[in-house]
């Protein structure tokens, strides 16, 4: 079918209309899938959060209004879980940003083997989350773990310690595993952003007598801000909904000390038989994620307004 100029016979649809029709044809398969596996389920979850949903799919659901939400916020476990999730999010994202920026800087200053370093960063990032978690669980093992092995050979401990059973340490051990996995993500993004920065400004500042720290703080860091924000938001959204790595390293233990908000949702929905509470919790996680998404979209669509 050849393209027809818009001024030819009126009965035929205009080029623009033809185009629009084709566009819908191209989009419909994806749109149907996305509506089916994302939009419909999120609405359904929202509705479920107002019902008491007993286990077993043929049980009768009863409407409880805001009951699930009220029960959720009255439960001390909920607030403790929010606290633990924030602990994980703030510390792991913070460490990933600081270490990632430092490593990006290091690569950017071209030491010997910088290409190898950049290449190596891909490995931890590519290792699947569950393999990464299992690896750290074994590293922390009380029977054969590498951590105990090193500390013993350095003479720092006399006998093996069951690290993952220590209540105050468990979450931080999960954080170390997450930092190993995701710090390369931040480092790679920031390194590629650094590579695109113009050097004239910093050179001019150097001529004017600004020292390295001043140049970094006043020139380089502000120019890196868009890339840092992208890394920060992507990592924050991900970290807030952490589940896999805690599930595999500690199974939520010891005594709930590593149960995060997604983990609590999983437990309510699939272990405690409280699917209504599970729906309410998961809707809360969505709200947070969508708020972050909104920020993300604003940031990316109008970068000039976010200054």
């Amino acid at each position: 079918m050849a393209a027809v100029p818009a001024s030819l016979p009126r009965r035929r649809p205009s080029l623009r209309q033809q185009d629009a029709r084709l566009a819908w044809l191209l989009i419909v398969p994806s749109l149907v899938v996305i509506l089916g596996v994302t939009f419909w389920p999120i609405l359904y979850t929202f509705i479920l959060s107002f019902f008491n949903v007993p286990t077993g799919i043929h049980q009768v659901r009863t409407f409880v209004g805001l009951g699930n939400y009220l029960q959720m916020v009255k439960d001390r476990t909920f607030w403790e879980t929010i606290g633990r999730t924030l602990h994980f999010t703030v510390v792991s994202v913070g460490l990933e940003l600081v270490l990632g920026l430092a490593i990006a800087q290091l690569i950017h200053s071209r030491p010997w083997g910088w290409r190898f370093l950049r290449f190596s960063l891909i490995i931890p990032w590519a290792v699947p989350t569950i393999v990464n978690g299992a690896m750290w669980r074994w590293i922390y093992s009380a029977d054969f773990g590498a951590l105990n092995g090193i500390l013993m050979q350095l003479g720092l401990i006399k006998h093996y310690i069951p690290w993952l059973t220590l209540p105050n340490l468990a979450m931080n051990l999960v954080i170390v595993a997450d930092v190993w996995h995701m710090m390369p993500f931040v480092a790679l993004i920031l390194q590629s952003a650094l590579a695109t920065l113009p050097e004239e400004l910093e050179e001019a500042a150097a001529v004017d007598g600004a020292n390295a720290l001043q140049r970094f703080w006043n020139i380089r860091l502000p120019m890196l801000r868009p890339a840092i924000l992208v890394a920060l938001i992507v990592r924050t959204v991900d970290a807030f909904r952490v589940f896999d790595i805690a599930y595999i390293i500690t199974s939520g233990g010891p005594a709930f000390r590593t149960v995060t908000i997604t983990y609590l949702t999983y437990l309510n929905s699939f272990a405690f038989g409280k699917q209504g509470i599970g729906a309410a919790l998961s809707f809360l996680i969505s709200i947070f994620s969508i708020l972050m998404a909104f920020l993300f979209i604003r940031l990316l669509y109008r970068p000039e307004e976010v200054q």
Partner: protein, 285 residues
């Protein structure tokens, strides 16, 4: 001046050592442990390099019918399930996603912007918020423990991601090329088939790689939807064995190394595209 520069370079290069140590120590330890026997693994102090290295753990997974324990047999099947499911997800996403991405990038129509933003928004919805309805429907359709349920569920994160990543690649196809073809009488479909797709091939390949990695890495849906060997993926197999006490730990380590190999190899091959893939959607639409 020169000696000072050299000293600076030496100092910077020394700084890379702890970073490389942090990156490589865990992974090398895992590989070494997977090459040792169960007895040697428990040696105190540890043998950092196995004195009697053995490939038995790997051979058991490659030839599961000869293996003594159930761990390698489960892994062999779970790895195959992972390959099947991740491949199917990738093929579907690339096929329908590339069409949608082209339309969103190059054809102006009503709701174009709204759909773009909607798709970007779905990337942010966590799996846990979709799981209950999907689980209810999958149970009533008898789809639990079937690979199909995972392929469908994985669309929820893989398809929006693939669309955004491909949209970014289509934007790099010069619009002048398309205009010239239209003036010469080429239809939209012809342009898509003969001009845009061939130019975007590297983009399609790297999108395929990222989609495959996402599907390979997925754990939550797989944990909920599969419990038998019919559809269990590698991450679920690892999680299941890790939770038990007296099992073949070195065998599991070999399984873990094998599950990590495909994504690591793909990542290293496609390293040029990794940063653009990580920030997919971060290109102005």
């Amino acid at each position: 001046m020169r000696p000072r520069r050299l000293l600076h370079k030496v100092w910077l290069s020394l700084l890379t050592l702890p970073v490389l140590g942090f990156i490589f120590f865990p992974i090398l330890w895992l590989v070494n442990a997977s090459l040792s026997t169960q007895v040697e693994l428990f040696a105190i102090p540890p043998h950092w390099i196995p004195q009697h290295p053995t490939f038995q753990n790997y051979l058991d997974i490659f030839f599961p019918s000869l293996a003594a324990s159930s761990v390698p047999r489960t892994f062999a099947i779970a790895l195959l399930n992972s390959i099947k499911i991740a491949t199917a997800v990738t093929l579907i996403c690339i096929t329908i996603g590339s069409l949608a991405a082209y339309a969103l990038v190059r054809i102006p129509f009503r709701f174009n912007r709204a759909i773009q933003i909607g798709i970007l928004g779905t990337r942010m919805i966590p799996e846990v918020s979709l799981i209950l309805p999907l689980f209810i429907v999958a149970s009533s359709l008898q789809l639990i423990n079937k690979p199909a349920v995972l392929i469908i569920a994985y669309m929820s994160f893989a398809l929006p991601y693939a669309i955004w990543m491909m949209a970014a690649f289509f934007q790099t196809v010069p619009i002048e090329l398309e205009d010239a073809a239209r003036i010469d009488g080429c239809s939209r479909v012809g342009i898509l088939r003969r001009i845009v797709m061939p130019i975007a091939v590297p983009g399609l390949i790297s999108t395929a790689m990222f989609t495959f990695l996402l599907a390979w890495d997925e754990f939550f849906y797989a944990l909920i939807f599969t419990s038998t060997l019919a559809a269990k993926t590698a991450p679920v197999a690892i999680a299941e064995f890790v939770g038990r006490y007296v099992v073949n730990i070195t065998g599991m380590m070999a399984g873990g190394v094998l599950a990590a190999l495909p994504p690591v190899i793909l990542g290293l091959i496609f390293q040029r595209y990794i940063v653009s893939g990580m920030t997919a959607g971060a290109v102005k639409g």
